[in-house]
């Protein structure tokens, strides 16, 4: 990392891409410390934040809190910069066959499973039940905003430092087996659904670039993804049994 006048920079590997991050504040750099790239690695692309982009993140975050019925909160500029950086990374990723989705991802026996839902539904809680159930067999890939690489060969999902308020992630990748849409219910039930039934939720939980060409490319990636993973709809409560019900449907049969 070198510091000249006001710009800090560092080189990291996210979703198998080498990204040079130039930032105003150090927070995003220290957050990415586990993902530092080797010196000799060639940079795939550069992201650099501007003051107005940090300000735009403030407005966006305030808007989201209003929509979610949360009280106002004064975000620090260095935190807002982490969001701006990730937005830029997610945008630049699309033309390279990667995309950002919102969800909690756990790997069991080396295979990854993603839970997605609207904020506050209990994804992280459910995934915690999986960790309790599987112990050493389970690894947290990313609790919040994983990157996915989609190609004709399949889908890989990656740990990234943008991993939610409990900071749960691992610098790793795993083949994605299934995406489960989670809803709250009294009883625990799960069924496999068709990709078309999952499509609206997938779109809502996927980072959608403003640029129309990139947005359409994102839809193409989602379409390709839908050919490689299974989809489930889970109704669940907070009991440990919920993880037994979901995992016995989603994990490969013995």
């Amino acid at each position: 990392m070198k510091i000249d006048s006001s710009v800090i920079e560092g080189k990291y590997i996210l979703a198998d891409l080498c990204i040079l991050i130039r930032s105003v504040y150090d927070e995003v750099q220290s957050m990415c410390a586990d993902y530092r790239a080797p010196e000799e690695r060639e940079v795939d692309f550069v992201v650099e934040t501007k003051a107005e982009e940090i300000e735009a993140e403030r407005e966006q975050s305030e808007q989201t809190r209003i929509e979610e019925g949360l009280p106002p909160y004064e975000f620090t500029p260095s935190y807002l910069e982490t969001l701006a950086v990730y937005r830029k990374i997610a945008t630049a990723c699309v033309s390279r066959g990667r995309m950002l989705m919102h969800g909690s991802v756990i790997a069991v026996d080396g295979r990854a499973y993603m839970f997605t839902a609207r904020s506050g539904t209990g994804k992280s809680t459910h995934v915690r039940l999986w960790r309790q159930l599987f112990g050493d067999r389970a690894v947290m890939v990313n609790d919040d905003k994983p990157l996915l690489k989609v190609s004709g060969e399949g889908v890989f999902i990656y740990g990234t430092p943008w991993d939610g308020k409990h900071r749960l992630s691992t610098n790793m990748r795993a083949p994605l087996q299934a995406i489960c849409i989670l809803t709250r219910a009294k009883e625990n039930t799960i069924r496999e659904i068709k990709p078309s039934e999952a499509a609206s939720m997938l779109i809502q939980q996927t980072y959608r670039p403003e640029d129309t060409a990139l947005l359409l490319a994102t839809f193409d990636l989602l379409d390709e993804l839908s050919k490689h993973v299974k989809f489930y709809l889970l109704g669940c409560n907070m009991d440990p049994e919920a993880a037994v019900v979901s995992s016995s449907a989603m994990l490969p049969k013995e």
Partner: protein, 89 residues
């Protein structure tokens, strides 16, 4: 009658759908499932046609009776209206 946002009609997750693009993608993230006829009706709505205009246009192209076609056109227009996606004249 016209659509509130720009839409792309494309194949996605095994079916034909309309998805909001541009500014509308921030506001509307549901997708509208369309069968083959629905996709053509939708494109005519995009082109700014009203119910009668769509029916007239499609009767020229398709081997279908008005009695069968018009309810389909009405159904899609109603769906779009219920979703708040239409700006009425």
């Amino acid at each position: 009658m016209k659509l509130k946002y720009d839409f792309a009609v494309r194949n996605m997750c095994g079916e034909t759908v309309a998805i909001a693009i541009g500014e509308g993608s921030r506001q509307y993230s549901n997708i509208i499932s369309l069968n083959d006829t629905g996709a053509d009706i939708f494109k005519l709505i995009q082109a700014g046609k009203n119910e009668d205009g769509i029916v007239t246009e499609m009767l020229k192209e398709y081997d279908v009776t008005e009695e069968k076609l018009r309810p389909e056109v009405q159904r899609l227009i109603k769906t779009l209206r219920d979703e708040g996606l239409l700006i009425e004249d």
